[in-house]
């Protein structure tokens, strides 16, 4: 409930550029400090490059090399999506080994991304230096608070965890940066280069599959798993502490639970890249596709997910295309395709002054149409939606990862110095309310799921992979 207008004393605050995120993001807010409320908030992206314009007329076989350059942290996701789209367009199915190599590359990419984002980018928000400057009382409390899982991660108090996250000085910060490099080596083993892969092609990969290739990957993976056995309990201690230390922290970054996940990791035994059978092979992915609204799973059908997408202009610097000829009116199954579906999108830039009462961003506004409303689905940065959907869909059981219908079990094998270990990601609930907020987005990133990373610069962050394309 917002306070009545006359009581308001609004303070304008702006952060631009936002640091520790990839992309040119700015936040402009009006804050009502008396009522402890952000009254207005605008987010703007200040860069336009024009991918969907300059890719026109180019050889489609080159497209994954180009779309990769949309993002310098998740370039691989864009390249992979483009390769999937090309496979579908050309009607080709890569050899199973090629599919596994792509999956292993993608998996390494998620490990890298979660690791660097959580510990070296977001982690700094929770580090001792930051908390000392912003909330000295919270730091004092952290000094007095014993870490519940100290035996697992080795930090006695919460403040010890915070100190270890201090940029460069913190030991854990540096260790995590080093681990992020090992995960990138794993990526390079499968896909040649990080962040823009060199060995991905439509129809397969150029990677030479040798015994050594997989040995080199496996040894690094197992070391990473050993690291994660310490990291997950450490994150739990840190995030749970913030809920206790700062009452109301549940509200930070809180949104209605509206999550969209396009699935990840195709199973070569099922995925034939045929659109007509996409609903079936989509459900065989190792991360389930689906849409969760207010905590309920409303579909796991990739065709429905795809067809529901709409690109709105929002407050962006583009002209409308609704009066133009559609590129496609129906999908291969005969379903109608909306003029605002990305398949029909035209990108018509209209550079203009930034005006927060009118247009103020180079980013359009993707939505998902549920038949009645245009919903601003969020991916929770990726992992929250992936875990939530996978947990509810109960489609995944590969031993190491199992969906229970209400949680995801992650079974980690024995590693050099640590025994087997099972983690369970559960739907986040506090005081009877389901939570999609800043801390839960972070926590979801900790175990093993994928976020569509740091994509403020990707102009349509919600595009699903069958249509994932440039802007």
């Amino acid at each position: 409930m917002t306070a009545p207008q006359k009581d308001r004393e609004l303070v304008e605050m702006a952060w631009d550029p936002i640091t520790r995120i990839v992309g040119s993001l700015g936040i402009y807010a009006k804050i009502d400090f008396r009522n402890r409320e952000v009254a207005e908030c605008y987010s703007t992206s200040s860069v336009f490059r024009g991918y969907s314009i300059f890719m026109k007329g180019k050889d489609p076989r080159d497209s994954h090399f180009i779309t990769s350059r949309i993002c310098g942290i998740c370039g691989d996701n864009h390249a992979t999506c483009s390769v999937y789209a090309q496979n579908m367009a050309y009607g080709i199915r890569p050899p199973a080994l090629g599919e596994w190599i792509i999956n292993l590359g993608e998996a390494a990419e998620f490990m890298f991304d979660h690791n660097i984002f959580q510990e070296n980018l977001v982690g700094v928000d929770y580090c001792e230096k930051m908390v000392r400057e912003t909330n000295p009382g919270v730091l004092a409390l952290a000094e007095r608070t014993e870490a519940p899982h100290a035996a697992e991660h080795g930090f006695r108090t919460i403040a010890d965890i915070m100190r270890s996250l201090n940029p460069l000085e913190g030991e854990f910060y540096r260790e995590a940066l080093a681990v992020s490099r090992t995960t990138r080596e794993m990526f390079c083993l499968m896909e040649g280069r990080h962040v823009h892969p060199s060995t991905l092609y439509p129809g397969g990969v150029g990677t030479v599959a040798t015994v050594q290739l997989f040995t080199d990957y496996l040894t690094r993976l197992v070391r990473y798993i050993e690291f994660m056995k310490r990291v997950v309990p450490m994150h739990d201690d840190l995030f749970d502490f913030f809920y206790e230390a700062l009452p109301g922290y549940e509200q930070v970054g809180r949104r209605r639970v509206m999550l969209g996940c396009w699935g990840a990791f195709n199973d070569p035994n099922h995925c034939n890249y045929n659109y007509e059978q996409m609903s079936a092979w989509g459900r065989k992915m190792f991360v389930s596709p689906g849409i969760v609204i207010d905590g309920k799973l409303i579909t796991t059908d990739l065709v429905d997910i795809n067809l529901g997408i709409r690109i709105l202009l929002g407050s962006s610097y583009y002209e409308d295309w609704a009066d133009q000829e559609p590129f496609v009116t129906h999908d291969p199954l005969g379903n109608p395709v909306d003029i605002r579906h990305p398949w029909n999108q035209h990108t018509i830039p209209k550079p203009q002054k930034r005006d927060f009462n009118d247009n103020y961003s180079w980013v359009m506004s993707p939505r998902w149409f549920d038949g009645e409303n245009l919903l601003a689905l969020d991916t929770g940065g990726g992992p929250l939606a992936r875990l939530w959907v996978t947990a509810l869909a109960r489609l995944v059981d590969v031993g190491y990862v199992k969906s229970t219908g209400h949680s995801v079990l992650i079974n980690l094998p024995k590693t050099a110095t640590l025994p087997e270990k099972t983690f369970e990601w559960k739907i986040p609930v506090r005081n009877g309310e389901m939570l999609s907020n800043a801390l839960e987005r972070n926590r979801a990133r900790a175990p093993t799921s994928r976020r569509m990373p740091l994509r403020s610069r990707c102009t349509s962050p919600s595009r699903p992979w069958p249509t994932c394309g440039p802007a």
Binding site: P17, R20, G50, F54, G98, K129, R181, L189, G192, H196
Partner: protein, 358 residues
């Protein structure tokens, strides 16, 4: 981001601090920033913590992992360092530019890319305006990645922004007040150690510990870009034996499926991508020439065999010197940017601008 000891404490000891101001707001993907976090020879920690002997004290102002995240006019405001440099209060500093420079003068209003705000107008400060303000005050300007060096992907034919490289914008014969030319480190993205090593060299040079950085005619460090991909490729033996693969995932030479290695200047097959792991043709990825001034236009379609490759591949060996001569001709054309990447009031890329119809 800087070493634990504060700038203030350092200047008390009268040790000058070299600031590194990093603008990632050209038309980029931030992949070169991300690449720098992958580097290990040296690593960014080693540079910032002064782990190498003779390094000056430095303070890095780098959006990707900067601690500073405060609001305008408040504490710890990241952009404040750039205003300080503009006011002439930071000395010395190295300016790093990531991303191509769009042409802001081909349209009536608005901006293609901005980095913080212009305090006078409240509108985004464009990257080219930052260049106009800061380049004259910088001790050195480093263009990181192919977008910043030569325009790259965002400057391909048909692009709407008129994007170009830093040297196209400032002028190829531009020199800093300290007499340094623009230093170009191309790569899409940049090979991590190629960037960290060049930064290290420049810091040594600024500290008076190294001679003038040796650059070639495209302003690249000579020791990194003096050889072709092909000369460093471990598949060159197959090439020489005339064994060319026409399939993915095979160990033979890739020239028939689109490798441009013979005419491309890049050390990646030799150096690997990270810690000697990965790369391009050495691990099965065709060289798409991502370090080159002519990238991408002069090498597309990437997935086709380069014209003339078959001739040079069939005659390889016997007519080696003839081939080298012929290659130099190709090399000269692909080592040049396409003509439309330049400062001009007209958009020359072939894109018909909807905003100019009014």
């Amino acid at each position: 981001m800087q070493a634990p000891e504060s700038t203030a404490a350092a200047s008390e000891k009268d040790e000058p601090v070299v600031h590194i101001l990093w603008i990632n707001a050209g038309l980029s993907c931030d992949g070169d920033s991300v690449a720098l976090t992958a580097a290990t020879q040296p690593s960014i920690e080693e540079i910032v913590l002064g782990a190498l002997p003779g390094l000056p004290k430095i303070a890095v102002h780098w959006p990707l992992i900067d601690f500073e995240s405060g609001p305008y006019g408040g504490a710890d405001t990241f952009i404040e360092w750039f205003y300080k440099a503009d006011r002439g209060e930071l000395e010395p500093f190295v300016l790093v530019i990531e991303g191509s420079i769009p042409n802001e003068s081909i349209k009536q209003e608005g901006y293609w890319c901005g980095f913080g705000n212009n305090p006078e107008t409240g509108q985004p400060m464009t990257t080219s305006e930052w260049l106009d303000r800061l380049a004259p005050k910088a001790t050195a300007v480093l263009a990181a990645g192919t977008c910043a060096t030569y325009g790259g992907i965002h400057a391909m034919s048909g692009n709407p922004t008129g994007a170009m490289g830093v040297a196209d914008y400032l002028g190829w014969d531009w020199t800093s007040k300290a007499g340094l030319p623009i230093v170009n480190v191309p790569g899409c993205p940049i090979q991590p150690d190629n960037l960290s090593e060049t930064i290290l060299y420049l810091l040594y040079q600024v500290a008076g510990q190294a001679p003038m950085i040796p650059l070639d005619e495209a302003l690249r460090p000579q020791w990194l870009f003096g050889k072709t991909v092909h000369e460093g490729c471990d598949r060159a033996g197959y090439y020489e034996q005339g064994q060319f693969t026409t399939e993915y995932g095979q160990p033979e030479c890739l020239v028939k499926i689109g490798c441009w290695g013979p005419v491309v200047k890049c050390n990646v097959p030799k150096r690997g991508w990270m810690n000697g792991i990965g790369g391009c043709p050495n691990v099965g990825g065709i060289c798409i020439a991502c370090t080159m001034p002519g990238f991408p236009d002069k090498f597309m379609p990437f997935m086709d065999e380069p014209p003339g490759a078959l001739v040079s591949s069939t005659v390889s060996g016997v007519y080696g010197s003839v081939v080298r001569g012929l290659r130099h001709i190709t090399q000269r054309t692909v080592d040049k940017e396409p003509k439309w990447r330049q400062k001009s009031h007209a958009l020359l890329t072939g894109y018909k601008a909807p905003w100019s119809e009014r």
